[in-house]
Amino acid sequence: MTLSRTSRWILGVAMALGLAFVYVPLAIVVVNSFNTSRLFQWPPPGFTTEWWQAAFQNQGVRDALVTSIFVAVLATAIALVLGTLTAMAVSRYQFWGRNTVSLLFVFPIALPGIITGIALNNVFTSFLGGLTFLTLVIGHGTFCVVVVLNNTAARLRRVVGNVEEAAMDLGANRTQTFRDITFPAMRSALFAGGLLAFGLSFDEIIVTTFTAGPGTQTLPLWIFQNLFRPNSAPIVNAVAAFLVLVSIVPVYLAQRLSGDATGGGRI
């Protein structure tokens, strides 16, 4: 379809407005983190780095950040193992119930988080004797599998089939084929999937609320608990601004290291 100048122009304006809608709120959070006014008077009467210093020195924030990273790393490891195994099964073989298997892994993110949350909470408290750090990791691992699965399965479907057969025709056994063909082809998809799993876990609040043990506080939990305390407002805002700025890192990494511009999205 050859678009007229006018329709291209209109679409361009729609794109610009859409991006403004996406970025202006994030920019306001960042600007506010330097606002001298404790009540975020707008426009800001002056700028200061006081809140950033306070946030970096806050022990609660630092502990929560470490916990979040720790949980996300473990959840990603679980997701990588389970997701890769499933991807190899669903992308290479035709078997009864294959679509159902794929659908099953979508459920933990397609169903509202509060349902996964209370279902896990109920089982963990009644059968495992309560919530711990481990129950949180198990909960996160479960809904992270799907991003690794989707990225890896898509890659295997697209790239690998024929090349693997060729390798085996040329005399490679399964181990060699996996090491020399399958794994190198999957690597960047695994990286993208792992990155997404990490991000998904790092950001998760609802399942976390229901599966974290009493002493376990992730960064989202810390933010939520301090959100309604007027005294903490500037620190919460500085932490929020920090998270906005940090979100550039994984996108940059995905583009640089995987060479895959889309990265598959979070979905």
Binding site: L11, V29, T116, G265
Partner: protein
């Protein structure tokens, strides 16, 4: 992996026999690949979910607060006969539907520009720009709107008017949160579409709008449906956004959350509502091929 690495020497006899069997029987290979993931999903996910729905048929003794483990439809009749729950469910589904429609209306032109108008150099940049906010924390984004819509906040001082906290703010914030989930699948669908179809339509005299309606839209429909699964489901279960920007209004998620600590059976019964809605939705869209676009 089914085939464990054996370095140096020949594999032991039993190992070789196992390999030979595996080679002949693809079913066994599938089973060995799926054994661990399926065990995990059944134990950690399906069993808790099933138990939750069994719990929905139990009741809580209002005097002792203890759970009575006998089959009863009491929770469900309570939900169906109490108008307050009907209102909450209808409000929640209405919010989720509005958010989905808004995301589609904003997302389709953006995805179209990215896939079909922007130059090859700009495409990855635009994708990255749409993707980046997904990595910014959910809470931070809701918090951003709480700040913007606050009394005397940026919305009031710049635009002179703000919807304030309430249902419109909830719809706006949820649209903001889930928009990328709608743009990315549509973009992927449009980018994969072959240009020859569009040229053919133009050669046959179709004007752009008609081409859009009769060629483009049917082809990206599965992608829109795929996006809508996320925008709809994520809105359906939300209870945090509404606490932060919703003023005093409540959604289904809040009702589940509040009942959770009082009566788990009743919360479980409420939780079946979004599950039924979503399972119905997933089954209905399975035929459109949307699930392959997730």
């Amino acid at each position: 992996m089914a085939t464990t690495a054996v370095t140096g020497g020949k594999p032991a006899g039993s190992m070789r026999r196992l390999r030979a069997t595996m080679h002949r029987r693809p079913g066994l290979r599938v089973a060995s690949l799926l054994a661990l993931p399926m065990t995990w999903m059944v134990l950690v996910y399906l069993t808790p979910l099933a138990l939750l729905f069994v719990t929905a048929f139990w009741t809580t003794d209002s005097f002792t607060g203890l759970t009575k483990r006998t089959f009863s439809l009491e929770n469900f009749t309570d939900i169906l006969t109490e108008p307050a729950y009907y209102t909450v469910v209808m409000r929640t589904v209405g919010i989720a539907a509005s958010v989905t429609v808004l995301c589609t209306l904003i997302g389709v032109p953006m995805a179209f520009f990215m896939a079909r108008v922007a130059s090859a150099r700009w495409q990855p940049v635009l994708v990255a720009l749409v993707l980046t906010p997904l990595w910014a924390s959910y809470l931070v984004k809701v918090y951003a709107w709480r700040t913007i819509l606050a009394p005397e906040g940026p919305a009031e001082s710049w635009l002179g008017a703000s919807p304030g906290y309430g249902l419109p703010a909830v719809v706006l914030t949820l649209t903001y949160l889930w928009l990328p989930y709608m743009i990315l699948p549509i973009y992927a669908g449009l980018a994969n579409m072959r240009g020859s179809f569009l040229e053919a339509a133009a050669d046959l005299g179709s004007r752009p709008w008609r081409t859009f309606r009769t060629v483009v839209l049917p082809m990206v429909w599965p992608s829109i449906v795929a996006g809508s699964i996320f925008t709809f489901s994520l809105s359906l279960g939300d209870y945090i956004t509404v606490q932060l920007v919703g003023g005093s209004s409540l959604m289904l998620g809040n009702a589940i959350y509040q009942n959770f600590s009082v009566s788990l059976p009743f919360a479980a019964a409420l939780a079946t509502i979004p599950v039924i809605v979503m399972v119905g939705y997933l089954l209905a869209v399975r035929r459109s091929g949307a699930l392959d676009n997730l």
